[in-house]
Amino acid sequence: MTHPPASIAGAASNPRLKLSGISKIYPTVVANDRVDLSVRPGEIRAILGENGAGKSTLMKMIYGVTRPSAGQIFWEGQDVQVTSPAHARSLGIGMVFQHFSLFETLTVVENVALALPGAQALDELAERITEVSTRYGLPVDPRRHIHALSVGERQRVEIIRCLLQDPRLLIMDEPTSVLTPQAVRKLFETLRQLSDEGCSILYISHKLDEIRELCHTATVLRAGKVTGECEPARETPQSMARLMIGKELPHCEHSQAAASGEVRLRLAGLSHAADDPFGVDLKDIHLEVHAGEIVGIAGVSGNGQQELLRAISGEEPLAERFPVQICNVEAGRLKPGQRRKLGLCFVPEERLGRGAVPGMALADNALLTASHTQGLVRGGLVDAGRARAFAERCIEAFKVKCGGAGAPAKSLSGGNLQKFIVGREILQAPRLLVCAQPTWGVDVGAAALIRQALIDLRDRGCAVLVISEELDELFEICDRITVIAKGRLSPARPTAQTTVEDIGVWMSGLWPGAETDEPLAAPTPAESLHA
């Protein structure tokens, strides 16, 4: 289903935006180093680079959120200093953020009003929102509160907010990480329509397939520098990956799963009403994870992943014992520490502040979960020497780049901290490992190492449950895959017997035999694609 990108409407004209020698220097890092870039009217240009390459910083400078340390920005031939986002918007630049800049407790129309200049009559504005949303196939109800919207709907609000200002340049920061494959296709239609109308688009991503499908041109960033330009349609994923990371994409050694062992995790009809008013209720979840296999849970974020993880880890204890069984013990009412004693280890989604205490040394962070399994506490007192030794073992085994066991967690890069946390959990020799977003925001090298470590752990007979929003990752490492949507879990399928397309459809809650308690039956055509 790959559309070769159409020719650019205004191919011959002058660049709409041109960056010349843009640098951004922070005390710790050089985020951008003399970046040159231009985009013409109607052009969809990809900004390609892996996590930490400096893509987001560059876009924030164009949008006036931060200022460049050096270099010039030309807007339609004029040398400009973009002083604020409001200034950028008045020039005709719109931006859709990766982590949305919406206000949960306000309504859609209030959120839109905040980004428009001058006082707005909210009723009129609501009409204009409806108008734009029909025109571009972005259905959304202007009167609803943001916290009641799905992630996909929130993204539509962000896009509409930009479109209402008739942008001539639209910046999209990793827009597809929150969408199902079908919704991605719908988004691409909208973007192509905009491009045909002459709007320029800067499309930030690290997903090679998407870029080849959508973008006319691409600028590749590595470690803050431009390492190449290309026409994605003429490249292979391999050739673009080389530009992006400077070498071949690493691959995992993946043998077939050994014959399934005993059940280490059983979810037996787990239902739980969310305590958090913005949370998702879990509904009758069944799942078994066996020793020696990796089971993956796919899904668009905000469909109950957080709540499910908390129910398994014990951070949110349940009212009953039986729904969560760890190594044949009914553990629903046990606390996290008691579940760890049964052999559970857990890598949470947030690294800083949950998986690790930012201001504490790695040795202290080792103590966080390994105090019991590694015998780091004696007679109520901490054995600092042993805690340090264990931290050093994690650092060495997982090649963590840091200033030693005494370095505070917040001084590590995302990839290195994730390696440390994964190492801390794996080196405790768990019987069951639950891992959320194992490679989220991690560089390619660290991601490969972590994935390989998970596979090796499985081969040693551990049961592994992975929750991820990256379908590619799940297909790479999992033996079986299941999908979570609106707090329900689909049946698990062997990875070899399913496809990304199927799982994509399931991600909107439409798997065979799916029960629904919401009127999913009669959605609008667009709704069914986006939900």
Partner: protein, 310 residues
């Protein structure tokens, strides 16, 4: 209860509730912007002593109120510099402000402890003040009582009808998002904190110039803290601040009336005097019990420092 007693109790309740309303509504604005200023007690104390001193020297209570307001704002500015510019911990800085303000007020107020002010006559609103039972109590009051009502209506309009109020709420919910779409978060927070300080100063001025009228060390007597509790009780909504403040005023006045009534009841006066404090605790418990009410209503960024990266 005879009619006169009712009228005078209602009158006293309104008077007792007024400083709480003014201070709590000011704090509500700064908390809506995401800034938790625990220094209300100190700002009120400084407002009270400054207003008293200026009134004493100038003879004009209105100059006094203005001075009290400025003193409250000066204290709030100090807090703002610490927490907004220097990013100090809001809780620690608020506590520091409370301790410092009370101490400084005691220090500068020493010479005024034996001074008396002339009572300021109330302002009688023609015709409606003649309504039986409530007229005398509600419409023959100090100007600042009417001011507290105007403040309430103004704030309702500001928060829910004006664009500036929308921006304020947005900043309080997510300063990072507000910054990303281009609002000057720190400047808005400064304004909100200064407004809180101004109101705390006026509230203090009301105590020393109109309510008692005198100055004594410790005369604020925890009202700053009670106002902070009221904002939580009100789940950050102005109407509930009004209701809460008058409820508190009622508790304070009732125990005073019982003590002063000469009724020979076998109950120590100290226990009666502690009623408003117990009431604060009970109210906090009742409203905080439901975690979701607080989560849904409290400004999401409350108490968290924010600094935009340049």
């Amino acid at each position: 209860m005879d009619a006169n007693l009712f009228t005078s109790m209602l009158f006293a309740t309104v008077v007792a509730g007024t400083p709480l309303i003014i201070v709590a509504l000011g704090l509500l604005v700064s908390e809506r912007a995401g800034v938790l200023n625990l220094g209300a007690e100190g700002m009120m104390a400084m407002g009270a002593v400054t207003a008293f001193a200026i009134t004493h020297h100038s003879g004009s209570p209105w100059l006094g109120v203005l001075a009290g307001m400025s003193a409250g704002m000066a204290m709030a500015l100090l807090f703002g510099v610490l927490t907004l510019t220097l990013m100090a911990n809001q809780v620690a800085s608020g506590l520091a402000l409370a301790i410092f303000g009370v101490g400084l007020a005691a220090f500068v107020g020493k010479p005024y402890e034996a001074v008396a002010l002339q009572a300021v006559p109330p302002i009688r609103i023609p015709f409606i003040a003649d309504i039986p039972l409530i007229g005398e109590a509600l419409y023959n009051q100090q100007l600042l009582v009417y001011f507290s009502w105007a403040l309430f209506w103004g704030l309702l309009w500001f928060l829910y009808r004006s664009r500036a109020g929308l921006v304020l709420r947005a900043v309080g919910e997510s300063p990072a998002s507000a910054h990303a779409i281009g609002y000057p978060v720190i400047r808005i927070r400064y304004l909100a904190v200064l407004f809180g300080g101004a109101m705390a100063g006026i509230g203090g001025a009301f105590l020393s110039v109109f309510y008692t009228p005198m100055w004594a060390e410790g005369m604020v007597a925890g009202r700053g803290w009670i106002a902070l509790a009221l904002v939580v009780f009100a789940t950050w909504r102005p109407l509930r601040v009004m209701i809460g403040a008058y409820l508190f005023g009622g508790v304070m006045i009732t125990q005073l009336f019982i003590q002063g009534s000469g009724l020979q009841i076998d109950f120590p006066s100290q226990f009666l005097s502690s009623l408003p404090y117990w009431a604060t605790i009970v109210v906090l418990v009742v409203i905080s019990r439901n975690v979701n009410t607080i989560r849904l209503n409290s400004p999401l960024s409350l108490g968290k420092p924010y600094r935009p990266d340049a």
